[in-house]
C-alpha cells in the first residue's frame, strides 16, 4: 500500500511539468541575469501589450554559453532564436565571423540615431549597442586609504600590494578578457607578457568569472578586484555604503559594449526590428542603469541621481578594435596562460 502511494507520488511529480505553448512566438536569447532580474520582464510585458506576439526570453546560461548555443544551432540550419541580446564587445569577432546577424540601418531602428556614436563599433551594424560599461579596478577603502592606491599600471606592481589583487580568468570570463586586452593596449604585444610576469606576485587568485571574483572581494579576501566602474553606484544604492571605490589606472577604463542583433533566418524581421528599437527607447533604457548596473546606450536617457553621482566615467576610455582581437585572441590567451602557469 505504502509502496504504491509512494510510486503514485513519484509519477505525479514527473507529470506536473507540462509546459503550455503560446501563439506566435518571438524567441530572444540572452544571458540569465538580463532575463531574470534585468530589463527583460519589463520588455516582455510592455512589448506584448503593443504587439500580438508572445515574447519568450531564453537564458539558461551566461552570454557566451548562449552564443555558443546559437552558433551550434545555426550550423545545423535551425537557429532557435529570432533576436540575440548580449554579445560583449570582446566577443564581437566570434559572433560576426559566423555571419550570424542581419545588417541594420537607421531606418530599421529609428532610435539608433540617439545612440552614442562611439558605441557603434560594428561597421556593418548587424550588432547594435544597448548598454556599455567600463572595466576598472575596485578597491576596499577600509583596507587601502585613498593616498595608498596605485594610480598607474606601473604603481600596481609595487610589492606593497602583494597578494592584494583578485582577477578573472580571460579564458573563461569576459571581464577577465577585458583586463587582459587592456594590458595589451597599454604595453603592446608581446610587452604585455612581461607586465603580467611582474604583476603575478601581487595577484591573490584568478577566478573563473566575475561573480566568483566579486564574492571573494566581498568576503574581504583581498582589497582590489577587477570589476565595473558602476560598482560604486551599486553599493551606495543597494548597500548604503561608500566603502568600495573605483581606482582608475592611467585615468583609463577598458570600454565594454554590449550588443544585440537579429538572427539571420528569422521569419519575423519586422517585429524583431521593433523589439530592438523598443530596447533603445528611453522607457527601457532608463531601466538599464539600476537593473543591469550599466550605462545606457541612448544618450538622451535620464540617469537616477544617485547612479549619476556615484558611477564613474573614466576620462580616457580605451579599447582594442574587434578586427585586431579576432586574428590574435587564441594566441594571446595561450601565451598568457603560459606565463601564468609557468610563472
Amino acid at each position: 500500500m505504502q509502496k504504491r502511494s509512494l510510486l503514485l507520488i513519484l509519477i505525479a511529480l514527473m507529470v506536473i511539468g507540462v509546459i503550455g505553448v503560446g501563439t506566435e512566438k518571438l524567441v530572444v536569447y540572452t544571458y540569465s541575469s538580463f532575463a531574470s532580474w534585468g530589463a527583460a520582464p519589463f520588455i516582455e510585458e510592455a512589448f506584448e501589450k503593443k504587439h500580438d506576439v508572445d515574447v519568450q526570453f531564453v537564458a539558461t546560461g551566461d552570454a557566451r554559453m548562449m552564443l555558443t548555443k546559437l552558433l551550434t544551432e545555426q550550423e545545423a540550419g535551425r537557429p532557435g532564436a529570432d533576436v540575440f541580446i548580449g554579445v560583449g564587445s570582446v566577443d564581437l569577432s566570434m559572433a560576426r565571423g559566423e555571419g550570424l546577424f542581419v545588417p541594420l540601418t537607421g531606418e530599421d531602428i529609428p532610435n539608433l540615431t540617439s545612440v552614442r556614436e562611439d558605441l557603434l563599433i560594428d561597421p556593418t551594424n548587424s550588432l547594435i549597442p544597448y548598454e556599455h560599461s567600463y572595466i576598472t579596478l575596485v578597491y576596499d577603502s577600509q583596507v587601502l586609504a585613498v593616498e595608498d592606491i596605485p594610480l598607474t599600471f606601473e604603481q600596481l606592481l609595487d610589492p606593497k600590494y602583494k597578494k592584494m589583487l583578485i582577477l578573472e580568468d580571460p579564458r573563461t570570463s569576459s571581464v577577465g578578457l577585458a583586463f587582459l586586452l587592456w594590458t595589451i593596449h597599454q604595453y603592446g604585444d608581446p610587452g604585455y607578457l612581461d607586465y603580467w610576469r611582474k604583476l603575478l606576485p601581487n595577484v591573490l587568485t584568478i577566478t573563473q568569472g566575475w561573480s566568483a571574483a566579486y564574492d571573494l572581494f566581498l568576503a574581504r579576501e583581498a582589497p582590489i578586484v577587477v570589476s565595473f566602474s558602476t560598482d560604486t553606484a551599486y553599493s551606495v544604492i543597494e548597500e548604503g555604503s561608500t566603502r568600495y571605490k573605483i581606482m582608475l589606472l592611467n585615468s583609463q577604463g577598458y570600454r565594454s559594449i554590449y550588443l544585440m542583433g537579429i538572427v539571420k533566418g528569422t521569419k519575423q524581421q519586422g517585429l524583431c526590428k521593433e523589439l530592438l528599437d523598443f530596447v533603445l527607447s528611453s522607457e527601457v533604457q532608463e531601466m538599464i542603469s539600476t537593473t543591469e548596473w550599466m550605462f545606457p546606450a541612448n544618450r538622451e536617457t535620464l540617469l537616477p541621481v544617485l547612479f549619476y553621482q556615484n558611477a564613474v566615467f573614466p576620462p580616457d576610455p580605451v579599447m582594442i578594435p574587434a578586427e585586431r582581437i579576432g586574428g590574435n585572441l587564441d594566441r594571446w590567451l595561450l601565451e598568457w596562460a603560459g606565463v601564468i602557469v609557468g610563472g
Partner: protein, 565 residues
C-alpha cells in the same frame, strides 16, 4: 526447445536494449564531435592532437591535471575510509539519516562549494578569524586557499563521500566470520584489519578511488576558484576552445586526449578490480557497538576524527547558510530574511516561467527520471560484466564507463549538436536533459553493482535454480536482495549527478527549465550573492530530504518482505 530460444532471445534483448541506447544517445553524438579533432577535409589527421602535445603549456596542464587528481583522491581516501568504518562498526542515534546525508556534498554546485570554502577556510574566513581571536594572532594562521592545498581539500569534500558509500556498502555485507577466525588465530586488531578486512574491502575502496580520481581529473570550477593563478586543468582549456573561441578542432583534440587518459586509467583499474575481487560470504547483520556509551580510548580517537572531518564538511555548508541570513547594510552585518523573501517570490513566474522556487520541482523531477533511466541502463550492463565471460570483457567494461571520463562541456556541445539533426532530432528540453543526465549517471550504477555482484557466491543462484527457480526468479529472490545496497548507492549517486549537473543542462535547457544550480548561478550573475546563498541553502535542505526519502523508500522497494531484518 522453443521455450529455450525465447528465453535466450529475451536475455539478448535485455542486454541489447541498454547498449543500443548508449550507442545512439552517447557514442554516436560524441564520435560526431570527436571526428572534428582528427579529420580535416575528409582525411584523417593527427595535426591537432599532435599540436597539443607539441605545446609545452598543454603538456604542463595535462601533468598537473593528473597530479592534483591523484593527491585529491588520496586525501579523499584518508577521510572517507574511517567514516566507512564508523558507519559499519558503531551504532549511534540518527545513524541511518546521517548515512543518507553523507552524499549531500556531492550534489552541491561547485560554485557554492567554492563560496563555502572561501567563507570558512579563506584567509579572512570564519576558521581563521576564530583561531586569531582564540590565540590573539595578528595574521591568519591557516593559508589553505589559492594553492594546491585548497584544490585538494575541496576535492576531498566532494569525493570522500564516494569512498565512504562504496566501501561501507561492501563492509556492511562482509561476514564477520573472516575477522573472527583471524582473531581466533591470534591476529591483533591492526593486523586483522590490514591482512583480512582491507583486502576483502579492496574492490569497494578501489571503485570509490577510481570514481574520485576521474572526477578530480575532470574538475574545473573548483580548481579555478580555490587553486588560483597557477593552476589549470584540461577541462579549462576545453571550455576555452569550445565556448570562448568557438574552435571545435583544437577543443575536440583536447577532449579526445582527456577521455583517452580517463579510459586508460579506468582500464587499469578494471584490470586490478578483477584481480582483487573474490567470492565472499555475505551477511545481513554485523554486530555494532554503541558509540555514545562506555567511553574508551578508541572511541576518543573516533570522536576526534569526527570533530575534525566534521569541520571540513559542516564548516563550508554552515558558512553558506550564515551568509544567507545576513546582509551588509551601511558597513555593518545585520541578520535578515531578505534573501529568502527574494527567492520565495513568484513574481517572475508568469514572465519567463522560471520563478526561483520552480527550479526545486524541476531539479527533483529531472533527478528522479534520470535516476530511473540510469538504473534501467546500468543494471543489465552490470550483470553482463559480472556474470558473463567473453573476450574483451574488460575492454567492454572500460568503454561503457566512457561517459564518466568525458568533458561535460564537450558532451553538452556534442548532444546539442546531435539533437538538432536527424536521426536524433530531439531538440532541447526536458527529454534531452534527462537523457544527458542518465548518460552521465549510469556508470555509477554499474560501478556500485559490479563489485557486489562479483563477490556474491555463484552457488547461491545455482542452488536456487536446482530447486526449480527460473533465472528471473533467482535474480529477484536471491541476487536483488543481496545487491540492493549496491544498487541503491548507485541510484542515489545517479540522482545526485543529475541534481548537480550544469554544463550539459545549460546547453539543452528551455525556458522554464531552470534547475537549482542554474538559479544559484543566475543569482550570482545578478549580484545577488545573498540570494545565491539562500538558494544554495535550500538546495542543501531539499536534496538532503530527498536522499533520506529515497534511501528509506529504496530499502523497502528492494528489500521486499522476504528478508526482513
Amino acid at each position: 526447445m522453443w521455450e529455450a530460444r525465447i528465453k535466450r532471445f529475451g536475455r539478448a534483448a535485455l542486454i541489447a536494449a541498454p547498449l543500443a541506447f548508449l550507442v545512439l544517445i552517447f557514442y554516436y553524438p560524441l564520435l560526431r564531435l570527436f571526428q572534428e579533432g582528427v579529420v580535416q577535409e575528409g582525411h584523417l589527421t593527427l595535426k591537432y592532437i599532435g599540436g597539443v602535445f607539441a605545446e609545452p603549456y598543454f603538456r604542463h596542464v595535462i601533468l598537473f591535471t593528473a597530479e592534483q587528481a591523484l593527491l585529491s583522491t588520496l586525501l579523499a581516501m584518508i577521510i572517507g575510509l574511517p567514516w566507512a568504518y564508523i558507519f559499519t562498526r558503531y551504532q549511534f542515534p540518527l545513524k541511518e539519516t546521517l548515512r543518507s546525508l553523507t552524499i549531500v556534498p556531492f550534489v552541491l554546485p561547485s560554485i557554492t562549494v567554492a563560496v563555502g570554502f572561501i567563507l570558512f577556510f579563506g584567509n579572512n574566513g570564519h576558521l581563521n578569524q576564530l583561531l586569531m581571536g582564540l590565540f590573539g594572532l595578528k595574521g591568519p594562521p591557516l593559508r589553505l586557499l589559492y594553492s594546491l592545498k585548497g584544490i585538494v581539500l575541496a576535492h576531498a569534500f566532494y569525493n570522500a563521500p564516494i569512498i565512504t558509500r562504496m566501501v561501507h556498502a561492501q563492509w556492511e555485507r562482509l561476514n564477520p566470520a573472516y575477522e573472527e577466525s583471524a582473531q581466533a588465530l591470534g591476529a591483533g586488531r591492526i593486523r586483522r584489519f590490514f591482512e583480512v578486512t582491507l583486502p576483502l574491502l579492496l574492490p569497494g575502496l578501489m571503485t570509490g578511488a577510481a570514481l574520485a580520481f576521474i572526477f578530480c581529473f575532470l574538475s574545473f570550477p573548483i580548481v579555478l576558484a580555490l587553486g588560483g593563478a597557477r593552476f589549470s586543468t584540461i577541462e579549462v582549456e576545453i571550455y576555452t576552445q569550445f565556448i570562448v573561441l568557438y574552435q571545435h578542432k583544437l577543443g575536440a583534440a583536447l577532449a579526445i586526449i582527456q577521455i583517452a587518459l580517463s579510459l586508460l586509467f579506468t582500464y587499469g583499474y578494471i584490470l586490478l578490480e578483477g584481480r582483487f575481487t573474490r567470492e565472499v560470504e555475505v551477511t545481513y547483520s554485523r554486530s555494532t557497538v554503541p558509540l555514545l556509551r562506555r567511553f574508551t580510548l578508541g572511541k576518543g580517537i573516533v570522536w576526534l576524527f569526527i570533530g575534525i572531518s566534521g569541520l571540513l564538511f559542516l564548516g563550508p555548508m554552515a558558512s553558506v547558510f550564515y551568509d544567507s541570513i545576513t546582509r551588509e547594510w551601511a558597513g555593518r552585518t545585520v541578520f535578515t530574511l531578505h534573501w529568502y523573501s527574494y527567492i520565495f517570490q513568484s513574481q517572475y513566474e508568469a514572465l519567463i516561467g522560471a520563478a526561483p522556487l520552480r527550479s526545486v520541482v524541476n531539479s527533483l523531477q529531472l533527478g528522479l527520471s534520470a535516476m530511473g533511466l540510469a538504473s534501467l541502463v546500468g543494471l543489465p550492463i552490470a550483470f553482463v560484466i559480472a556474470r558473463y565471460r567473453f573476450r574483451g570483457r574488460r575492454l567492454f567494461d572500460t568503454l561503457v564507463m566512457a561517459s564518466l571520463g568525458v568533458s561535460s562541456v564537450a558532451l553538452g556541445a556534442a548532444l546539442l549538436s546531435a539533437f538538432l539533426r536527424p536521426p536524433l532530432e530531439l531538440g532541447s528540453g526536458w527529454l534531452a536533459i534527462v537523457l544527458a543526465h542518465s548518460i552521465l549517471a549510469y556508470p555509477f550504477v554499474i560501478r556500485a553493482v559490479v563489485p557486489v555482484l562479483e563477490g556474491l557466491k555463484q552457488g547461491l543462484v545455482e542452488a536456487a535454480r536446482s530447486l526449480g527457480a527460473t533465472r528471473l526468479q533467482a535474480f529477484r529472490d536471491i541476487e536483488l536482495p543481496l545487491i540492493r545496497r549496491g544498487l541503491l548507492v548507485g541510484a542515489i549517486f545517479a540522482f545526485a549527478i543529475s541534481l548537480g549537473e550544469m554544463s550539459a543542462t545549460i546547453m539543452l535547457a528551455q525556458p522554464g527549465l531552470k534547475t537549482m544550480p542554474l538559479v544559484v548561478n543566475d543569482l550570482r550573475a545578478a549580484r545577488s550573492f545573498g540570494g545565491a546563498s539562500a538558494m544554495s541553502s535550500l538546495l542543501i535542505l531539499v536534496t538532503a530530504g530527498a536522499f533520506v526519502i529515497i534511501e528509506r523508500f529504496g530499502e523497502r522497494l528492494f528489500g521486499g518482505t522476504r528478508w526482513s531484518r
